[in-house]
Symmetry: C2
Subunit: 456 residues, 2 copies
Amino acid sequence: MTRDVLNYLNDHNEDLMKKWNDFLSIPSVSTDSTHKQNILEAAEFLKSYLSELGFENVTQMETPGHPLIYAEYTQAGTEAPTVLFYGHYDVQPVDPIDQWKSDPFKPEIRDGRLYARGSSDDKGQVFMHLAVFEAFIKTEGKLPINVKVCIEGEEEIGSENLYDILHTKKDLFAADFAVISDSGMVAKNQPTILYGLKGFTGIEITVKGPDHDLHSGMYGGAIKNPIMALTQILASMKNKDEVITVEGFYDDVEPLSDEERKLIKNVQGEDYQTTTGVTETASETGYTAKEHTMARPTFEINGMYGGYQGEGTKTIIPSSATAKITCRLVPGQDPEKIQNLLEKHVYHHAPTGVKVNVKKEKLSAKAYKVEPDHPLIQKAAASYTKAFGKETVYVRMGGSIPVVEWMEAIYDIPIVLLGFGTPEDRIHSPNESFPLDSFKKGMETLVYYWDSLRKK
Amino acid sequence: MTRDVLNYLNDHNEDLMKKWNDFLSIPSVSTDSTHKQNILEAAEFLKSYLSELGFENVTQMETPGHPLIYAEYTQAGTEAPTVLFYGHYDVQPVDPIDQWKSDPFKPEIRDGRLYARGSSDDKGQVFMHLAVFEAFIKTEGKLPINVKVCIEGEEEIGSENLYDILHTKKDLFAADFAVISDSGMVAKNQPTILYGLKGFTGIEITVKGPDHDLHSGMYGGAIKNPIMALTQILASMKNKDEVITVEGFYDDVEPLSDEERKLIKNVQGEDYQTTTGVTETASETGYTAKEHTMARPTFEINGMYGGYQGEGTKTIIPSSATAKITCRLVPGQDPEKIQNLLEKHVYHHAPTGVKVNVKKEKLSAKAYKVEPDHPLIQKAAASYTKAFGKETVYVRMGGSIPVVEWMEAIYDIPIVLLGFGTPEDRIHSPNESFPLDSFKKGMETLVYYWDSLRKK
């Protein structure tokens, strides 16, 4: 009876919250090598929890980077379906740290939200699954479905080694379908099925000028300024109408159908002023903000630096300047091809007097789309609605989850994206948080979903 | 006899070097408030040295910023001329510190050069004057000229309080002429008289977007990227031909005469590949590198930053971006007017969806030109030639020394720029150094110059 399972979650709320806090307190930042030990602590946490729950073959799979945690549960019986559950235990860096109202790794509850790095992306959502597994096992003695657990530690740095593992251990990870909870809802308490995700690629541009910073009075007028050179290159890549001006960038983009534009129109839009403080949106000419974020490719400068950043002025011509760029891609676009187009554009627009170098980021993924009317999707939507008391909407989103593309490519199984994040979670930013009621209703959704899939 | 004075400098070389090292070992960085104590130590060093030499009214003049050291010497008698000697004891920041081959504040001699921050700009040249004063006093019992010393601690942050002091204490600082050693020669051992300096002004542009860093997948396509907005603004201010495209920027520029172009052509050019590592110069269309650096205005981005600068990638739309800009001005251009033109251009080109703010730097100065055939200049040229054994060349330079403009404005006296730096000194950069033979010949030049001005 799902009733008992739900009661268990309520009755043991305090213990579960404490355990969740322990998980979030581990600063498992994957992009910063100084956190290697914390990554291993987070992996350890998962292994012991899964072992306690009676999962078998709990394994820490080593990689050239950070380990992946595998475990399996087969006691639901051969007639029950097997789900491949994916999540990640690594988190984004916390800088700028001074903008956090509380320690990112000392979870703190304020106004019904739990504040901590990873509370939403993705340690929070991973923990919800584990807690629901616990609830089923403690009340019913077993899970209604068989499970293969795949929780990696490199999602925030591009899941660099995940593909190889999924590919080489294809039989081990084989399942009837996959469930991923690493996404969000269009609005808090608005059940959302993601049927499309964007692809992803990136480059880093470095412009080198003089071999040391130069006095701007002695050399201004003779030596090309690397920062100015870089701004001239970047400004040539996107115009003020938010149209990407890199030749060929849009060539393979699947046009947006009228049906889909209607679908997008029906999705309750986000109140950007509340969530970002920005009063005026900026989108590609001819497309709404919703259309652009959900279904059109983007080009963003994620970071740029060069020269003097300190107090006061320093009258120099800096020796170099760097920009980090990532693009979100839509169905039809090939990440590698886009990377090559970006590189070609940069070199073509590089001014004389400086050395320009383009570094292609390994991180790359194609866009993804799934059929909204698949039974597994429909059951997920029903579970959402039952838990949140609201009709489920179907949307595409701008985020990228490489594992989605890879799972489909390798296993060709249905992938269900069960996301519980909210637009106010500030993932990847200071003061990331997750609503406690989403935590509760999310687990409820999972209980209904697993129940709906048990052999009746 | 100058012979005795020169001998003194040779015989006491070791003591003088030690004393110079003590001066350079004080990290008197004026732009960084954490070095306040070191600034005071440097001021203390000067006061005690001047007192030892028998200067009177040795005074530490307090300012809202860093103190100015005043002292006077009147024992040369009423018939001897009085020189106002200006220099500065503050230095530029040392970052990037990891590029220094030796501690910037532990002077080290390598290949005939003394490496230390300030060794050339300007603690080295200030010390040469004090050492020469010492040599005259210890050998002849007095100086051949009367002196008023004005050594400030805010030159590298725009001499913010110097004008007020010179203006309010006009009578105290009154002199027949001024000597400033805070510049360089066009080439090592090439005596150089600076008869023109550039003016100076600056702004800082800050572009604010969302109130926190945003996930580039969730918000890319809806929210304007502040870094992209800033690059678009900056790229609109100077074109690839190094022509500044800010409306009205060149309106008041005095055209370069054919005579002056000849004069510039005769100046031995700097080997930029040796001094900067750059193989190809970049100058305003229609002007040579020498013409642009010496006699045409410049626009430089000194620093820029926004978003993620750490290891790996961080897929965000950053909340803000900043650029620090300074311009070097030529005769005819008014710093305030230029600042206003820059501000107007930035606001005019600011895209929608972001908040753009322009901060006008206080630091500002008009360009300066002096008559090359003035007797005081001619005697300086002769002293140079005698010491360095080479004809003196007359040049304009791209550097800016606000005090030059102010002294002329307030006192209307001839100003002699006796510079001893070399293009290889790397002032304002890591591994600043000063040649030991320039140190010696420079002091020799000063001995000849003061001697040439004594009442015969």
